[in-house]
Symmetry: C2
Subunit: 155 residues, 2 copies
DNA sequence: CTTGTATTGAAAACGAATTTCATTTACAAT
DNA sequence: ATTGTAAATGAAATTCGTTTTCAATACAAG
């Protein structure tokens, strides 16, 4: 089983392996980003990471996130309300699922995409090479809360 | 058959019907946006529309595009390299197809999405309510050019 | 034509992102 | 452990896209 803190170590090792030094600011940023199930933007990372490393500068957040993206550890995500959010990268091609209530994100493996792509190719004459699929909805927890609320409202 | 200039008129009428005055700057912006097969950002619109109305101000572009979006005529699109692009809105739910070579965009109606959503729901426990699907590839023209190039390279 | 009001564009303000640069720090070599 | 050096840092300045402000303008109703 692969825990979150394993991922922190893995990311730190990757940084080191790519020639970076391990510094306190980087540790703070990596610890935050490797463990979050929410897509975060630089400013959010800045605010959150200062809890564990108060002298952190925003510039360092930008630089570290840029590096993590280069290393393929962090993935940029476009959401309806913001386009510079980042998540731990999926391994292989996965689709994104966002809870519109609590912001929880998770990946789902995409099954039957080839058929859809072929279909579109035939219909349009486009040569389809890639795609983005993002799904929006309610995570199990938020869904349960909504159902409970609906029940009490009905009672 | 519905031509592009029909769409310009339709948009202008919609603006008027919503209480807006028809002004020269708005005509320039609408004429450009209603006819383009490319997703455009405010600055691009500003630059292009000044060809037909040089005293146009950037602020007016922002305000007019905002209004057009409110009226459901323009749709915001997220692309890999920019997140504030706008296209004439699709009628109903359609998926987007972008030519990564020339930037041409078109809509494709999405067929069998319910099955995929059900699949994801079952797998994750999420209650899926919405989705974004964007496909990337080469439009017929660019695809032909690429094939020609490949042939000459081989010869 | 006159008038009232929506609309306009220049300029200022703002926020996010980037660049600059003097200082600090990690870490390899000793 | 000490030291030298290049990497990394954060404050400040800069850039760029977007929004707000406001006096001047222009549409359209009377």
């Amino acid at each position: 089983m692969k825990s979150d803190s394993d991922r922190v170590d893995l990311w730190l090792e990757s940084l080191q392996a790519s020639g970076c030094r391990l510094t306190a600011p980087r540790r703070a940023i990596v610890t935050l980003l490797a463990e979050t199930p929410h897509a975060l933007g630089p400013i959010e990372v800045y605010d959150l990471a200062r809890a564990s490393y108060p002298r952190l500068g925003l510039v360092t957040v930008y630089r570290t996130m840029e590096k993590l993206e280069e290393l393929g550890l962090l993935q940029r995500v476009h959401l309806p309300d913001g386009c510079h959010r980042y998540l731990p990268a999926a391994q292989g091609h996965q689709h994104l699922l966002l809870c519109t209530d609590c912001g929880l994100m998770r990946y789902v493996s995409g099954d039957d995409f080839k058929r859809l792509a072929d279909n579109v190719s035939q219909k349009t004459g486009f040569e389809v090479t890639d795609h983005w699929l993002q799904l929006f909805g309610l995570c199990p927890d938020c869904s349960a809360v909504h159902k409970t609320r609906a029940d009490s409202a009905a009672a």
